[in-house]
């Protein structure tokens, strides 16, 4: 832990208004184990990070990409809702999503319409924000193949779409990317990309960049061969496809490829860093987040864990899994790659969000990307060269002993290395990492990155792995539990300049929701027992919270409505890997269920129930 023995200040003492429940309106004290730990002082006067202008979004009140801007900041400049008035925030409208699976998507807003993509069967709802009650404008049902549910590793989720060119782009679980007319919902094109018979599915939010739509596959638990595809935004044909294992030609590695570190250089490493043919079923999918720097025309995205989890049957670094690619957005040509977890031992996917920042480092401003990586380190990387400027543990890490900045390699801890015939106990972080997919937010007003993350450890036994196409390719039995301190989640405000935490809020349950930062200096996030919270971006004080109907595993957004007011919207609806025990009715007596996640969430079914619902909040009209 990068924390020291700092004074603990109780922050959860503000009064919050709990709206009518069972017909009684009453005030209640905030509950829940939310304590802000004042770790350091504020960062006043020191230079702070900023959003690269080219990668920022227009201040037009809309929210068109999952992360709002290409820099992936999840920052809305809207400042009507503040720490001073958020106590009066109330539900403005709701909409049932007709779904009992994890609602991981970000609602998107443009031109007076809100768009929501549900988990399988991936229904799209368009709501008319210009009319009272925001009624349904249109609904689109892609009718994906039901069998696809059998190859979705971690609940049948969907992380939303992208709005561009008057169209909504989104994916279906069974492997299609679809473009809809945003106005009336009619299908413009539909391209089949993923093959469920090989374990491929699509769960990520595609990113519309220039005249293309970028899509990556899921299936790192099924021995797929990972890829990222660029589709023509106009007609949906494949413009380029970059694999993440195999020969350089397939990976789109050419003359422009200049990785910073020696261990990422060499011919056809996507073949030679594997046992013969293992790369063909080697994973390295791209189910997470993509950032885009229009200044350099480079996209940045990470690759998933290698397949199978049993690392003993894939000797080598297993390129190009568990690492980060920088590619030319137009051609897909790889510019650089950096492998966070070479020869991944623990399912440390590298698909988390890259936040593009202009960051003061040593008196100069560096163009960087920052990542709360699954292996437990907060990386600052030069986004032009791929050089790691720093990598600091942001939670409990004992599976490695830091990153060697001269070679770039993660230093695995020998005593935590899994091997056949050996049960390794207390590996931290567990497979979902210090942080899983649920993205952080950055505020240019505070210069802080708000990281919703996990505190889980695990025991691990390596067992034989058997590849059968379309079935899980695993080779490990894991059982997870709360990490040091016993709290399973934490919202962390991290100062990327000083490279240390500023405040943190501990949560009993894992945090599986994204964070949202606003111009009103608030940070929003949700808990797995359904609380939607607004905290002071400077101090971490909880200023408001509301109990939604189900656990929150989604991505809160903020937008300006047609009436000019600021709104905050979030999908409630527990699920995802962390919520699998609830939505899948899993049996808590098997701590290895859901790849070991059940061990860490046995109490969740007593705290929430499934059910997707959109909640929209606003201040009272004055």
């Amino acid at each position: 832990m990068p924390t020291d023995s700092a004074p603990t200040a109780h922050a959860g003492t503000a009064d919050a208004w709990r709206p009518a429940k069972r017909g009684v309106r009453r005030c209640m004290r905030l509950r829940g184990a939310a304590f802000a730990l004042a770790v350091t002082g504020t960062c006043a006067a020191a230079p702070i990070a900023s959003i690269p202008p080219a990668a920022s979004a227009k201040d037009d009140g809309s929210w068109t990409l999952a992360a709002r801007d290409y820099a992936s900041t999840r920052y809305s400049p809207l400042a009507e809702i503040t720490a001073a008035n958020v106590g009066t925030l109330h539900v403005e409208s709701t909409f049932s999503l007709g779904s009992l699976r994890g609602e991981e998507a970000a609602p998107l807003v443009a031109n007076g319409t809100m768009y929501v993509v549900t988990p399988f069967p991936n229904i799209v709802y368009a709501l008319d924000l210009t009319r009272p009650g925001t009624p349904l404008k249109w609904k689109y049902e892609p009718k994906p193949d039901a069998s696809a549910q059998g190859v979705a590793c971690c609940d049948t989720v969907n992380r939303g779409g992208s709005l561009a060119n008057g169209r909504l782009y989104f994916n279906t679980l069974d492997g299609d990317t679809i473009a809809l007319d945003a106005e009336d919902g009619h299908e413009i094109w539909r391209t089949h990309l993923g093959d469920i018979r090989k374990g491929e599915s699509l769960t990520m939010a595609p990113l519309a960049v220039n005249d293309k739509v970028l899509v990556g596959n899921s299936g790192g638990e099924f021995g797929v061969r990972g890829w990222l595809v660029a589709l023509d935004a106009g007609d949906g044909h494949i413009v380029w496809k970059a694999f993440h294992t195999g020969p350089d030609a397939d990976v789109l590695i050419g003359a422009d490829f200049k990785p910073f570190y020696a261990f990422d250089r060499g011919k056809d490493l996507g073949v030679s860093s594997w046992p013969p043919d293992a790369w063909k079923i080697g994973g390295g999918s791209a189910w997470g987040w993509i950032s885009f720097d229009p200044g350099s025309n480079l996209v940045y995205y990470g690759t998933s864990n290698p397949s199978p989890w049993n690392a003993e049957v894939r000797a080598g670094d297993n390129k190009w899994t568990a690492g980060l690619f920088a590619r030319d957005a137009d051609t897909g040509a790889a510019r650089w790659f950096y492998q966070f977890s070479p020869h991944d031992l623990y399912d440390y996917d590298a698909v988390n969000e890259s936040i593009l920042l202009d960051l003061p480092v040593g008196g100069a401003t560096r163009k960087v990307l920052v990542r709360a990586e699954r292996n437990g380190y907060f990386y600052v990387i030069d986004r032009a060269s791929g050089e790691v400027l720093s990598a600091d543990a942001y939670g409990s890490v004992n599976s490695s002993q830091g990153v060697d900045l001269s070679t770039g390699r993660l230093r695995y801890a020998a005593d935590k290395k899994p091997a056949t015939g050996r049960i390794v106990r207390e590996i931290c972080p567990a497979s979902p990492g210090g942080k899983d997919w649920n993205p952080s937010a950055f505020s240019p007003r505070t210069g802080l990155v708000y990281v919703p993350h996990l505190n889980l450890c695990m025991d691990w036994q390596t067992v034989p792995a058997n590849y059968i196409a379309g079935t899980p390719y695993g080779g490990a039995i894991a059982r997870m539990y709360a990490g040091p301190g016993g709290k399973r989640g934490e919202l962390l405000a991290w100062d990327p300049v000083a490279r240390k935490p500023v405040w943190k809020i501990e949560e009993d349950l894992p945090i599986w929701s994204a964070a949202l930062a606003t111009g009103g200096d608030l940070v929003f996030y949700g808990t797995m027992d359904g609380w939607f919270k607004a905290v002071d971006a400077h101090t971490g004080e909880v200023r408001w919270q509301f109990p939604t109907g189900s656990g929150i595993v989604g991505q809160p957004v903020s937008y300006r409505g047609p009436d000019g007011r600021q709104y905050v919207a979030v999908l409630s609806g527990v699920g995802g890997w962390a919520g699998a025990i609830v939505v899948g009715h899993l049996d808590a007596r098997d701590t290895s269920a859901a790849n070991g996640m059940v061990g860490a969430t046995t109490d969740l079914p007593t705290k929430t129930e499934a059910g997707g619902m959109l909640y929209v909040f606003a201040l009272p009209c004055t």
Partner: protein, 191 residues
């Protein structure tokens, strides 16, 4: 009992009689049929609905010897090995579920009798369960089905494997309480 058998011969006879009794009782448990032959199941043996429009049909047919698998320790143990081998554990964990449903509880989407479980494995089911017919030999599907029955305590305790060879993630199957499928989940006769 043996404490009363004082003479040496008598003691021997007594021990032999005792062992014979145990062996007889457990012969189904102990049998190791290395090449089990199973009569193919006709479709009508595994109905998934408790509703019979019009007049009641005759009771669903039980397989001639399929049910024998769930009383046999060797079959259940083989099923346990195959459960990991064929990646069943990748979706169903060690009975608690994951991508697929839990198998150690009393809830059955497609029936909880060994015939119905065999049918689900062989045929596949529409919401993600693959079709394993022609991939797994039929006798091994019966062994898998027997192990699946053991996960919910629905095999004789003497036949259930007491512990697996892996890290302990579930209670021993000999300690899992019997959780018979509810009537709605098991159309064919249970015993």
């Amino acid at each position: 009992m043996c404490s009363h058998c004082r003479a040496r011969d008598a003691r021997r006879a007594c021990v032999a009689a005792f062992c014979a009794t145990i062996a007889l009782a457990a012969c189904q448990r102990e049998q190791r049929d290395l090449d089990p032959h199973v009569e193919p199941l006709a479709g009508q043996a595994t109905p998934l609905s408790g509703l019979n429009p019009g007049e009641d049909r005759p009771a669903p047919i039980r397989s001639s010897n399929g049910a024998g698998f769930e009383k046999n320790a060797y079959a259940i143990s083989e099923g346990q090995r195959l459960f990991a081998w064929f990646n069943c554990s990748g979706c169903h964990g060690n009975g608690g579920g994951g991508i697929g449903p839990a198998l150690m509880d009393d809830v059955w989407r497609y029936g909880g009798s060994i015939e119905q479980i065999h049918a689900s494995i062989a045929q596949g089911r529409p919401n993600g369960m693959p079709t394993f017919r022609d991939k797994i030999p039929d006798a091994e599907i019966w062994q898998l089905a027997a192990y699946v029955r053991a996960l919910s305590g629905n095999v004789p305790k003497a036949a259930a494997p007491s512990r697996g060879e892996t890290i302990s993630v579930t209670p021993p199957l000999t300690r899992v309480p019997e959780q018979p499928p509810k009537p709605a989940d098991s159309v064919s006769p249970e015993r």
